[in-house]
């Protein structure tokens, strides 16, 4: 089957979304871990902040990233007419 320019555009959009979400994943995981000592000076809900992010905050962000990706891609599939039948 021929790959149309519209399909290429769909793939580009997918790559863009993947890159943005991966950047968020990188920040909450690695940037926070890199600056954990200063970040931990801040208190949040009674927790040292870096501890809180590692124990809960990052996990919530991970779930949100995956949920957003699933919703967005499932919509993109339909918009570009590449969704599965049924």
């Amino acid at each position: 089957m021929q790959i149309t320019s519209r399909m290429r555009e769909y793939w580009q959009k997918n790559l863009q979304l993947t890159a943005i979400l991966l950047a968020i994943w990188f920040v909450v995981t690695y940037v926070v871990a890199f600056f954990a000592v200063p970040i931990n000076q801040v208190t949040f809900l009674g927790f040292p902040l870096a501890y809180y992010i590692g124990a809960q905050g990052a996990l919530v962000v991970y779930v949100a990233i995956i949920a957003f990706y699933a919703r967005h891609m499932n919509k993109l599939d339909r918009d570009y007419g590449v969704a599965e039948e049924g």
Partner: protein
């Protein structure tokens, strides 16, 4: 074969598992009442383990099948939510259930590397693998390597890496199941191990992936109830609010206030006191990539009905795992506070009952080094397993809750072992036997080979588990680096970089797998091996993938650019996995 009951079963899943959850809670309440009426703890232990294993066996028998697609991928009819629950229990092992809180207790902030690593990896599964593997739609991970990188060499390396990563992991699960059964049934551990294996086989032999899926969903329900009940109760007792995940911030503050008083030199919530920052970040990286490369997890995404459902299913998977992982630090913090407040600084003759009870079982060690009769911080050693197991007693809960926790731990061990054994025996029966040795085998013969191999692999794993020294448990943490370095670069580049060639992938997998194994064996001192080599940049063997994973990527890229670009057939395959509606061009 869509069995006659198949579709009405799928339509009624919510009702069936709702009833199951209600029935299980009722069972716990009835046992609690019987305990108050004088039922002996030993009998409660037996009833709990017999009832849960019996139930899983029943599901296993009901889900028996003689259809290949049912056996390998549960007929690809598992809705996103239920696949999420199955991934959750497939993923969370005895180590997650019982050991995780203990590691956090010992490591404080640095233990969070496990929490972040083992959840953040699912972001990679969602963005890079699950939807594309589902679209590819075969049976195993070596299947994808075989199709994308033309032929049996890539497939064979995939088989070896899948078995290496899964086998030591399954041995640890069987050992875990053996420890729990032997402790609660009061039988020798060798017998406990074989009881555990019987419990695993009865779930998977007759129905393969289909039976494993539906037992894993039930096992998830049992393990999450068992994990949350004691900690919610404890939080309510200590703080008046039954939401431990929010309330342990207060416990952390009290711990920090007590530390200088008790002479603790490594503050609990302070980063990088137990491991260096480089090791922490490296470990998070390896655990994440490894999570996104373990075949027993990835193959679960073949079982959803569509690409759409596969995407949603990763979200449910992580949510199910999240419920346990964001509670584990609460277990650790409350236990730490309890120890600092009521155990340290007390007269050794006068310690709380739970310390003495678990001390008698060898999980807590007390040594009065300075002979003053008062317990100091350095004089108390807790086995990591003691935290979750002792929490019901710390909270002053009846014995039935301890039975519940044991049943939860056993469910976690059995469900993970089910998934792993299936991965190993499928790599042998589907990839090695059917795809490489005898492609003309009939369906009946393929399933007979699959079941026989499952039995043989289970027996070997049980034998190793009952004889191996406990040092083998360490190997589990290396499985992540090994799987990550062997699979992740080849899988991701296979989907996202059309130029990746067969030669590149083969070289990359060999380099990644080989370098990681080499680093682990030469720097860890594992099983009495001499430490042949100083660690590079001070990186521990547990984060060996820090070197292996980039080396794998680099090798694939360099070798691919030096070899001839893949042909038209491979390009068509890549297009078909990228666009959900494209039919693959197959004969």
């Amino acid at each position: 074969m869509a069995s006659k009951t198949g579709n009405s079963f799928i339509d009624n899943l919510g009702r069936i598992y709702g009833l199951f959850t209600g029935g299980f809670l009722l069972f716990v309440v009835v046992l609690a009442i019987l305990e108050q009426l004088g039922l002996a703890p030993k009998i409660i232990g037996w009833v709990f383990l017999a009832a849960t294993i019996g139930l899983y066996a029943l599901i296993g028998v009901i889900s028996r099948t003689s259809d290949v697609a049912e056996y390998y991928v549960a007929g690809r009819r598992v809705p996103a939510v239920f696949n999420g629950m199955a991934v959750g229990s497939d993923w969370m092992s005895a180590a997650s259930f019982i050991g995780m809180a203990g590691s956090l207790y010992a490591l404080g902030y640095d233990g969070l590397a496990y929490i972040m690593g083992w959840t953040g990896g699912y972001v990679l599964v969602a963005l890079f693998l699950a939807p594309y593997l589902r679209k590819f739609g075969q049976f195993t991970i070596p299947d994808f390597l075989g199709a994308r990188y033309g032929g049996n060499v890539a497939r064979a390396i995939g088989i070896v890496a899948a078995i290496t990563a899964s086998f030591t992991y399954v041995v640890a699960q069987i050992k875990g199941a053996g420890i729990i059964t032997s402790r609660f049934l009061e039988i020798p551990i060798e017998y406990g191990t074989w009881v555990g294996v019987a419990g695993i086989l009865v779930c998977s032999m007759l129905g393969g992936m289909r039976a494993v899926t539906w037992t894993q969903v039930a096992q998830y329900i049992v393990l999450i109830i068992a994990y949350l009940v004691p900690i919610v109760w404890l939080s309510y007792r200590l703080t008046g609010v039954p939401i431990p995940q929010l309330m342990y911030g207060q416990a952390l503050a009290e711990i920090a206030a007590l530390e200088p008083v008790l002479g603790v030199t490594k503050p609990y919530a302070q980063p990088f006191v137990q491991m260096s920052q480089a090791n922490f970040i490296g470990l998070v990286f390896c655990l994440m990539i490894g999570t996104a490369a373990l075949p027993h997890i990835l193959m679960r995404f073949y079982t959803t009905p569509s690409v759409r459902e596969a995407r949603v299913s990763v979200g449910w998977s992580l949510f199910c795992i999240f419920l346990l992982y964001f509670s584990a630090p609460a277990y650790a913090a409350f236990a730490k506070l309890e120890v600092y407040k009521h155990v340290i600084g007390q007269a050794i003759a006068n310690l709380p009952a739970w310390v003495t009870n678990w001390g008698n079982l060898g999980l807590i060690t007390i040594k009065d080094d300075n002979g003053d009769g008062i317990l100091q911080v350095a004089e108390l050693t807790l086995n990591p397993d003691a935290i979750v197991l002792a929490t019901p007693e710390i909270a002053g809960l009846p014995y039935v809750v301890a039975g519940l926790v044991a049943a939860g731990g056993l469910s976690a061990a059995l469900s993970t072992a089910d998934g792993l054994l299936l991965t190993i025996s499928n790599a042998l029966s589907h990839d090695l036997y059917y795809k490489m040795i005898d492609p003309s085998a009939t369906t009946t013969r393929r399933l007979m080979v699959a079941r026989t191999l499952l039995l043989i692999v289970a027996a070997i794993a049980a034998y190793v588990a009952s004889t191996a020294p406990s040092g083998i448990l360490v190997f589990v943490s290396w499985a992540f680096s090994i799987a990550g370095a062997a699979f992740f670069p080849a899988l991701v580049l296979g989907i996202f970089w059309p130029r990746a060639t067969k030669e590149g992938a083969i070289a990359g997998m060999l380099v990644g797998f080989g370098l990681t194994l080499f680093y682990v064996l030469t720097t860890s001192g594992f099983m009495g091996l001499p430490k042949y080599m100083e660690p590079w940049f001070g990186i521990n063997s547990i984060a060996a993938g820090v070197f292996g994973i980039p080396a794998g990527f680099l090798t694939i890229i360099v070798v691919s650019l030096l070899t001839k670009a893949p042909d038209q057939e491979v390009q068509a395959l890549i297009h078909s996995v990228r666009y959900p509606n494209l039919e693959p061009e197959r004969a």
